[in-house]
């Protein structure tokens, strides 16, 4: 199989961009990736555009987004398609780009993920994302993704003894990282005193889906991210003189039962485990080789549960690692160095692309002061679709040329 490298990356700030046009926001990130690769003027080198977006049709009343973007970028006649795989749309688009390049269908592909969710009220945005649930057995009850976050968190706490304080420690760590990330939605550090230990913590950090509180959940964000990919053996590689290429050394995906209640043990995230195993196998690596990871913490419990499924901790033991500081920037396995979905933000279609953007930043050694992992060689991103029913894991590695 041909090896595929990331040769350019782009990002917008995450936050409230609702005054802008969805395709403009995506276009900004795309141009940044082309510029990063040094080929903005030669953008017709790109043969394949893949756009990841989940809610454009529902929230922004816009479809045919890939066709609109290729035209806005002046990149016709590149092939262009939209990829929708719920919150895992971003990494799915990267996976399809890898498949297109590895198969020889294209040498170059631009992946752009974007979402504008704050154009509508929180009620409508929550409803739009909830349409990925089973229509009759889940959605019709009024269930939402935060509801499953709450149900899952309670199960985990009751089985493994996780405390609300330990959940809050994850949020504090994520906010600390996000505060140093210029693209993050919430660039405000928080303290355990403010969100758990202090006498006003119940007010500051109120319940949203018990036992999950406000600081246990990601914000509703707008934003976009982009990656430019090229086959390492392609003659086109000579055009990308901007930054050192980063190898997509492994990528794997897996699915699980659509309904959470249908799973033998709802606490087992089988699709996470399998997707990571597939990515590890492709890369010829294991959990011990990974230097840092971006894990899909739409709810802080997911950082904990995913870190166990991918092999960083034994089941039920991640909480001990959190208390020991092992997931901090200077810890044994830094998690969500970008601030994660929790604090960097979660524009759904952009998230998977943004996670891999962060892997590239870290592997290039370009992360901002105070959140650069020391000399990383391999990073893992887990992009979690549905409530764990469709997951994509990606490993990126530094190339020693």
């Amino acid at each position: 199989m041909r090896k595929v490298a990331i040769v350019g990356i782009g990002h917008t700030g995450f936050g409230n961009l609702s005054e802008f046009d969805l395709v403009d926001v995506m276009g900004f990130a795309a141009c940044s990736a082309l510029q990063d690769a040094g080929v903005l003027q030669e953008r017709r080198l790109v043969e394949q555009l893949l756009v990841s977006n989940m809610c454009g049709g529902i929230i922004n009343h816009q479809t045919g987004i890939a066709s609109a973007l290729v035209s806005r970028l002046g990149m016709e006649p590149a092939m262009a398609e939209l990829v929708e795989n719920g919150p895992a749309s971003g990494a799915s688009a990267v996976k399809l780009a890898v498949m297109a390049i590895a198969s020889g269908l294209a040498d170059t592909a631009l992946v752009v993920g974007g979402e504008l969710m704050r154009a509508v009220t929180g009620w409508i945005g929550t409803d739009a994302v909830a349409t990925l649930l089973h229509p009759q057995a889940e959605y019709d009850l009024g269930l939402t993704l935060p509801a499953f976050g709450g149900i899952f968190t309670r199960m985990y706490m009751e089985r493994y003894g996780l405390t609300e304080r330990e959940l809050a420690m994850v949020a504090v760590k994520d906010h600390e990282n996000a505060a140093k990330n210029p693209w993050a939605h919430v660039r405000v550090p928080c303290t355990l005193e403010a969100i758990h230990d202090g006498e006003n913590a119940d007010v500051v950090n109120n319940y949203v889906a018990e036992p999950l509180r406000l600081y246990g959940m990601c914000p509703v964000s707008d934003g976009a991210a982009a990656l430019l990919l090229c086959a390492l053996d392609s003659p086109k590689m000579k055009h990308f003189q901007g930054k050192p290429p980063v190898l997509i050394s492994g990528i794997g995906a897996a699915t699980d039962r659509h309904c959470v209640h249908e799973r033998q043990d709802p606490l087992r995230l089988e699709a996470v485990r399998l997707s990571a195993e597939r990515a590890y196998a492709m890369a010829g690596l294991g959990p011990k080789d990974i230097c840092f990871a971006e894990l899909h913490d739409a709810f802080v419990i997911l950082e904990i549960a995913i870190s166990e499924e991918v092999g960083f901790f034994e089941r039920g033991k991640a909480r001990e690692g959190i208390v020991r500081g092992e997931t901090r920037i200077d810890g044994r396995i830094p998690l969500n160095t970008s601030g994660g979905l929790k604090a960097k933000g979660h524009p759904v279609g952009a998230t998977g692309v943004s996670q891999i953007y962060e892997l590239v930043k870290q592997l290039r050694g370009e992360a901002e002061k105070g959140r650069q992992v020391k000399d990383p060689r391999h990073g893992l991103a887990v992009n979690f679709g549905g409530f764990g029913n469709n997951v994509v894991s990606t490993i990126c590695s530094r190339i020693n040329l």
């Binding site: 909830a130 009850l141 109120n206 018990e210």
Partner: protein, 131 residues
């Protein structure tokens, strides 16, 4: 004169489906039985229809949450949701109508109206304390 009686309320129902070949119960139903691979035909034209089995009755609460951030269309302060296991082995997500839920508690589930969309009543399972 308009006869409004023809618009009478439908009985709320939530059904599991039974594979006509091996009898395995599902909620919700797949297109192919996971055990014997018998196909399900929603039109009941091409293959034997799967029997609808009313879902409800005694169940045990596996986990639950109280949600304050509700989607469009739910104009209440919060709703309780849970996952329950029935005596026949099926599990389901339910709307929980218990003031002080506790994991493991025994409940009784029955179908009811969860919301209304475009004049159509939407059904789901509600779990309450027995008796």
């Amino acid at each position: 004169m308009i006869d409004f009686s023809i618009y009478g309320e439908k009985q709320a129902e939530v059904n599991a489906l039974k594979c006509p070949n091996c009898g395995t119960l599902y909620y919700p139903a797949p297109m192919v039985c996971a055990k014997c691979h018998t196909r399900r035909d929603p039109s009941a034209v091409f293959f034997t229809p799967w029997e609808q089995v009313p879902l409800g009755g005694r169940c045990k609460l596996l986990s639950w949450t109280r949600v304050y951030a509700l989607p469009e269309g739910y104009n209440v302060k919060f709703l309780n949701f849970g996952v329950v296991a029935f005596e026949n082995g099926l599990k389901a997500s339910v709307r929980l109508e218990v003031d002080d839920p506790k994991t493991g508690m025994e409940l009784v589930a029955e179908p009811g109206v969860t919301t209304e969309r475009a004049g159509k009543q939407i059904y789901g399972l509600f779990a309450r304390l027995p008796g």
